[in-house]
């Protein structure tokens, strides 16, 4: 099914490249950079929190990037190891313990920038094409092929790519061909170069080829998609819009319907000193776009649908009820406001006070079902839906079903040179049946309060505390969280935290999740050692999520760059 990846070729490639340079007789100007990361976890069975007995007792994810640059040439390789994968990361990584799934060579000079091998790329906002790596999610859909970037004249940027995508240690069977053009009007027309009014226009075309599948349908083996975008800036104002259209793409996500996919993203921003507002609206319909039509979870996405919710940082808000973007269909709007009250004012205090408010509203699309998913899955001819459209939807209309609400406000104030306080209130309405696949049949209403304080005892010693509380009558009930962190600048940090699900409706599950951590930082190197319980939850970055299983054990983390 998949093309096997001979990782040894990467090593040979890198070393042969070095050898060729050496043959030329000069290594002057050669620079090598990179970074390492190791994340290891041990596992103890803990039936109360649902941490399983893991036969291997431990998991290790590690990688190292090595990038060599000489003049216009850059070459790199990434070695990855999963010994075995840390729980919560796909077992597909465990099919090969060590390998080099990412290697590339790049030549960039003048108007050309050519890459062979692996590369990451994004067109516009990513709604039509984005390949990226998000290590915390175990996500890497890097292309493997050829990319050419050309800048034929000032202000005109053209990118063309062809390749397949990384699928753990293998590659997609589907190939992606794509071209993107962008015109920066102010660069193109010399007389507008200094204008405050700035225009950018862009257009993309992406086509995927995948051989027909095993089902009875007549498959479109070449699935195309196009997108158009534009951006206008004037002083502190910015207006951005993108529209994407995907032709018939029956796949396992959409129950093999032939309905086209559509998406629109509009964003308006205004900012001036001490104030900023951003309003973003997005609507998506049938926009799963993957290199393989039967891929699942976060695998082999060609596109990325930007998140429309705030990326929270506090523990309870981050991992209990975050929102996962629904490529099948969603419509929403987000308003984000930041305002800094002036220093020295009555409300602003001596150092000023920053207030940030954010509202996100996401609903289902207004749809009318033509065929039920089970009818569609049956592979039968459907007299009432011969073209297998599946449903009708209006891209511009909110449906009845609430997917998510996030209302939050954060106030950040420095009281003195030694004391800084941050407080937050967050209110979620989460339809976890949609975002996490639960079967609660009702929405979760959760209120979270956070108090975050930093006290610099002396120049070297500091104490940071976090107190969080979640009130909810649904699901697991109330949670409390407390953390204290002692910092001995600039190298040492000791953290003790505990989460307590004291409001769980089941008494036996009113469990504490304590963790202690010691971290050492030295320049670009960081080592940490932690022991404790990890709560089962869901972890999201940019609306893309992965489940995090419960765990009890030691965690070791090492990051280093050079």
């Amino acid at each position: 099914m998949f093309v096997k990846q001979p990782y040894l070729s990467a090593i040979v490639f890198i070393f042969s490249s070095s050898f060729l340079w050496a043959q030329e007789g000069s290594l002057d100007g050669l620079e090598i950079h990179g970074n390492f990361e190791v994340y290891a976890q041990t596992y103890n069975e803990d039936s109360i929190i649902g941490a399983p007995n893991v036969p291997e007792k431990s998991g290790v994810n590690a990688f190292g990037n090595f990038i060599a640059t000489k003049g216009a040439f850059t070459a790199g390789v990434r070695i990855e190891a999963y010994l075995p994968p840390v729980q919560g990361f796909s077992n597909n990584y465990g099919t090969q313990p060590v390998g080099a799934p990412y290697r590339f060579a790049q030549f960039a000079k003048g108007k050309f920038d050519i890459t062979v091998g692996n590369f990451y790329e994004q067109f516009g906002n990513g709604m039509i094409l984005r390949s990226y790596e998000e290590r915390a999610l175990g996500l890497d859909n890097a292309f493997d092929g050829l990319r050419i970037k050309v800048k034929p004249i000032p202000g005109l940027y053209i990118k063309g790519i062809v390749g397949n995508q990384r699928f753990y240690w293998q590659k997609s069977t589907g190939y992606v061909r794509a071209i993107d053009g962008e015109i920066a009007i102010n660069e193109l027309i010399e007389s507008l170069a200094e204008s405050k009014l700035r225009f950018t226009l862009g257009a993309s075309f992406v086509s995927k080829y995948e051989a027909a599948g095993l089902k009875n349908f007549e498959y479109p083996e070449n699935v195309a998609s196009w997108a158009g975008r534009g951006q206008i800036n004037y002083g502190g104002f910015s207006l951005l819009g993108e529209y994407v259209y995907k032709f018939n793409d029956p796949n396992s996500d959409n129950h093999y319907i032939y309905r086209p996919g559509k998406g629109v993203l509009l964003s308006a921003t205004y900012s001036q000193k001490g104030f900023g507002i951003n309003i973003t609206a997005k609507s998506i319909d049938n926009m799963h776009f993957r290199a393989n039509r039967d891929a699942q979870l976060n695998d082999l996405f060609i596109n990325y649908l930007p998140a429309l919710t705030r990326q929270h940082t506090y523990n309870l808000a981050t991992t209990l009820y975050p929102y996962a973007t629904q490529p099948a269909g969603e419509i929403g709007i987000q308003v984000d406001i930041i305002y800094k009250i002036k220093k020295g004012s009555l409300l602003g205090g001596k150092y000023g006070t920053t207030i940030q408010g954010n509202v996100a509203i996401i609903n289902s699309l207004d749809t009318q079902q033509i065929s039920s998913p089970s009818d569609l899955d049956s592979e039968d001819y459907l007299p009432s839906d011969p073209s297998r459209e599946g449903y009708k939807a209006n891209l511009w209309t909110f449906g009845d079903k609430i997917y998510y609400r996030d209302y939050n406000i954060e106030v950040d104030r420095k009281f003195s040179k030694k004391i800084k306080l941050k407080t937050s209130y967050i209110y979620f309405v989460a339809n976890t049946d949609i975002s996490q696949g639960t079967a609660l049949g009702k929405n979760i209403h959760a209120h979270i309060g956070v108090l975050d304080g930093l006290f610099k005892v002396t120049r070297k010693h500091s104490i940071r505390t976090e107190i969080q509380h979640m009130w909810t009558e649904q699901d697991q009930g109330n949670w409390a969280f407390a953390m204290i962190e002692y910092g001995y600048s600039p190298h040492w940090f000791v953290t003790i935290l505990n989460q307590y699900n004291y409001g769980n409706p089941t008494k036996a599950l009113r469990v504490n999740y304590p963790t202690a951590q010691l971290a050492y930082i030295n320049g670009a190197n960081r080592v940490s050692l932690a022991y404790g319980r990890q709560r089962a939850g869901i972890f999201c970055v940019g609306g893309v999520c992965r489940p995090v299983p419960a765990a009890n054990g030691v965690t070791v983390s090492l990051t280093s760059s050079f």
């Binding site: 009875n216 070449n222 699935v223 195309a224 032709f247 089970s374 009818d375 592979e379 039968d380």
Partner: protein
């Protein structure tokens, strides 16, 4: 600029041609014709001779213990214009899943009444009337069908499904369900005079059963020739669109159980049954008067969990002539 034009033009043309638009993913299928003369058994016949009393013996090594079969009980009527179309779709689905779907058809409700002169044949049955009364409040239109008598939360929380578009989903969701609660074997031997059938139903628990289970055994006559209104027919050829010699499939004629309970009779009491244990049920059944041709008789046996009132297994067999 000119030196970039050709490759860019090439790329644009390449990409524009890289899109396939499919208007009709599946061709409209031809309805699978039904061989109305075919009365060969569709069940994996498990007969293994007869005992000293002439009752069939079940070959315990060959009975189906791999899957739970699907029991579809269809309500139709001879004056129902749209029913034949839907029934054909049901039979085509049955043919697609040969041996997995067992159909019993009840002629009940407003479209099944005897009305002279067009609809003189009474196709109803006492048992059909009893079951129809039980679910009538959920029947909005005909034909309708039950699927394993289950209520499907994922299909509108319904137990009764109208027409093929509705029942197809729940039925197919039940296909190939492995690890059945019980394995069943059914044997039926017709006597020489074709007046009675000796029937044996052998049921083996595949898991430990902890509920009460009832066995429902029905006598079904296949390929009954009688009138039927069929909206697909032309008025010119079939006045009032009535086909006088329509072949009715899987027509339920009678309940075989001596107990006339709508769920049959208890063969596993509330104490349950341990995995691997057998329950044997036999009857010397007199063929009822409404049977037109005894050679077309099928015996359908289903086991119903009395707590959930869902069918947990179903089997059928065509009657054998005694050797």
């Amino acid at each position: 600029m000119r030196k970039f034009s050709l490759p860019i033009l090439y790329l644009i043309l390449l990409f524009i041609s890289s899109c396939d638009i499919v208007d009709l993913p599946l061709e409209k299928p031809v309805i699978i014709p039904i061989d109305t003369n075919d009365t060969t058994p569709r069940n994996t016949d498990s007969l293994d001779g007869v005992d000293e009393n002439g009752y069939p013996l079940i070959d315990t090594n060959t009975i189906n213990n791999l899957t739970q079969k699907i029991y579809m009980e269809e309500f139709t009527g001879h004056s129902c214009t749209g029913c034949p179309t839907q029934t054909d779709l049901l039979l085509a689905m049955q043919a697609d899943h040969e041996g997995e779907i067992i159909v019993a058809t009840f002629h009940e409700g407003v479209f099944a009444k005897v009305e002279l002169p067009d609809y003189p044949t009474d196709m109803t049955s006492d048992y059909g009337g009893q079951l129809h009364s039980l679910v009538e409040s959920s029947i909005d239109a005909y034909p309708s069908a039950l699927v394993n008598r289950k209520t499907f939360t994922e299909f509108g929380n319904k137990q009764v499904f109208q027409a093929h578009n509705e029942w197809q989903g729940p039925a197919l969701s039940e296909v190939d369900k492995i690890n059945p609660a019980v394995a069943m074997g059914v044997g039926a031997i017709l006597n020489d005079a074709m007046t009675s059938v000796k029937i044996r139903v052998s049921t083996r628990a595949e898991i430990n059963l902890t509920d009460e289970y009832k066995l429902l055994v029905l006598c079904i006559e296949d390929s009954v020739i009688a009138e039927q209104k069929d909206g697909r027919k032309s008025e010119a050829e079939y006045p009032r669109k009535i086909v006088e010699e329509y072949t009715h499939r899987h027509t339920v004629r009678d309940q075989v159980n001596t107990s006339k309970n709508v769920y049959g009779e208890t063969i596993i009491d509330a104490a349950g049954l341990t995995a691997g244990e057998w329950v044997d049920w036999t009857i010397n059944y007199s063929i009822p008067d409404n049977i037109v041709d005894a050679k077309h008789i099928y015996i359908v046996a289903s086991l119903i969990n009395t707590s959930t009132v869902e069918v947990v297994q179903v089997e059928e067999t065509h009657v054998h002539l005694a050797k």
